[in-house]
Amino acid sequence: MTQNVLRTRVDHRAFVVPVVLLVLWAIASSLRLVDPHLLVPPATVAATLVQMLGGADYWSAVGSSLARVCGGFVLGGAAGLVVGVVLGVSRIAERIGAPTLHGARSVALFAWIPLLTAWFGDGEVAKVALIALAAFFPVALNTERGCRQVSNALLEVGRVLEFDRWTTVRRIILPAASRSIVTGLQLGLTTAWIGTIGAEYLVDQGTGIGIALSSARIDNRMDIILIYMLTLALMGLALNLIVRRNVVDD
């Protein structure tokens, strides 16, 4: 618990780098050292930010992305748990399935997009499928490893007490693997978030942060791009805090 408090307390020194960057940015802009189209002055960004925070588009983009990452993470995470447990528990399933799983995982995430859009179209389904895939692999792999690494000493206790297969999984393997499984879920959430922005950017239909970034790029609106990047950074920090707090709580 003490560690937890330490981790979540904000150290003021954390603001040194952002403030220095902000000052440099302001100086560079006011001295016209760079093209204002490439690096918008902070005042312009602030004005746009106030305008966007008051409008609906910004919030609907953030909301859509959050909904998408949740949906994809739940689907992919659940599938990853099931596949991970089956591969981790059954030697036959491991022989049959593990090589394919490890092969498929080494395909870069965004290389799936052409296939997914061909199957599911340029809409919501393809995006969620990609996010689910992003969450699936870390969850499946960590769950599999956790289940496989359960100590033989504990498994023998189950044998001596005449546990059947299901009792062994439920009473020994899953609790013993829970730490690995939680790690997998945390990793899966992080990769799902990366997958969400990527999927939105590359399959730009509907609303979402990635989609907003894509259209801001086409419109050449550097101020909007910066605001969404800042949003992503803050959301990433929040995600990290949630994930790390859980790790420490263990």
Binding site: E156, V160, L161, E162, A176, S178
Partner: protein, 258 residues
């Protein structure tokens, strides 16, 4: 407290051979072991480390399969692990995520009893091994001796006919050890169960057992079976025990010289 009346079983080991593959080479652990344990008897198996005494216990428990020979428990062959045999391992092997009571309850998962009956059975075992008040403690909160007692309670939960103890007191300090030895005797007398205990402690074997099986080193063979004809309770410093201890120690030392 409710006394249970378990059926005590005999153990028969007939010409059992066992070897293991270690780094591609075959290592003989047991070579032609034969041994009979009578119902209700307390037998200790003693010998230098690496003599195969733990392997012998694991064979009786059904955790290993012999290369040759047969094992019988109560006139039916051992075909695999069974609730007939309770086993307490040297490392207590309690599940770290369960409380003492829940760990003991694991032994009752496969017995058709009501929740209330199971609760009573668990409480009886907790009291039996002297862990009253620690029902809701987790293994990491227990001392070594307490964890070992919880482990023994778990192995007794399914009311086995035979209790196999694999150096259950090996990791304990001398004081705790002496106290646990007395407790083991008390449990054995109360539960009326056949006990086979692996140990490398001469005093412990002499103090507790009806008979002591002395095993020799690599490959494991039975070198001698000693009967302890001393009535219980046995005072630790009894002369007859000292003579026997000396005899045992000599047997074990002789093995080291070979």
């Amino acid at each position: 407290m409710i006394e249970r009346v378990a059926e005590r079983a005999s153990v028969e080991i007939r010409d059992v051979w066992k070897s293991f593959a270690v780094d591609g080479a075959e290592v003989r652990a047991l070579e032609g072991i034969s041994l009979t344990v009578a119902p209700g008897e307390f037998v200790s198996i003693i010998g230098p480390s690496g003599c195969g005494k733990s392997t012998l216990l694991r064979l009786v428990a059904g955790l290993e399969v012999p290369d040759r020979g047969e094992l019988w428990v109560d006139s039916s062959p051992v075909t695999g692990p069974s609730l007939r045999c309770g086993i307490a391992f040297q490392d207590h092997r309690l599940f770290p995520w369960l409380t003492v009571a829940a760990n003991i309850g694991l032994g009752l998962l496969k017995t058709p009893r009501s929740q209330a009956e199971k609760r009573n059975a668990i409480q009886r075992l907790v009291d039996l091994v002297g862990l009253t008040g620690f029902e809701n403690a987790y293994p990491r909160q227990l001392s070594g001796g307490m964890a070992q007692r919880a482990s023994i309670a778990r192995s007794l939960a399914a009311e086995p006919q035979i209790l196999l103890l694999d150096e259950p007191l090996g990791a304990l300090d001398a004081l705790t050890r002496a106290r646990m030895q007395a407790e083991l005797l008390r449990i054995w007398e109360r539960e009326r169960v056949t006990v086979a205990m692996v140990t490398h402690d001469v005093t412990e074997a002499v103090l507790l057992s009806d008979r002591i099986v002395v095993m020799g080193r690599r490959p494991g063979r039975v070198r001698e079976v000693l009967t302890v004809d001393v009535p219980r309770p046995r005072p630790r410093n009894a002369f007859s025990l000292a003579t026997l201890s000396a005899q045992l120690a000599e047997l074990l030392e002789g093995d080291l010289d070979n």
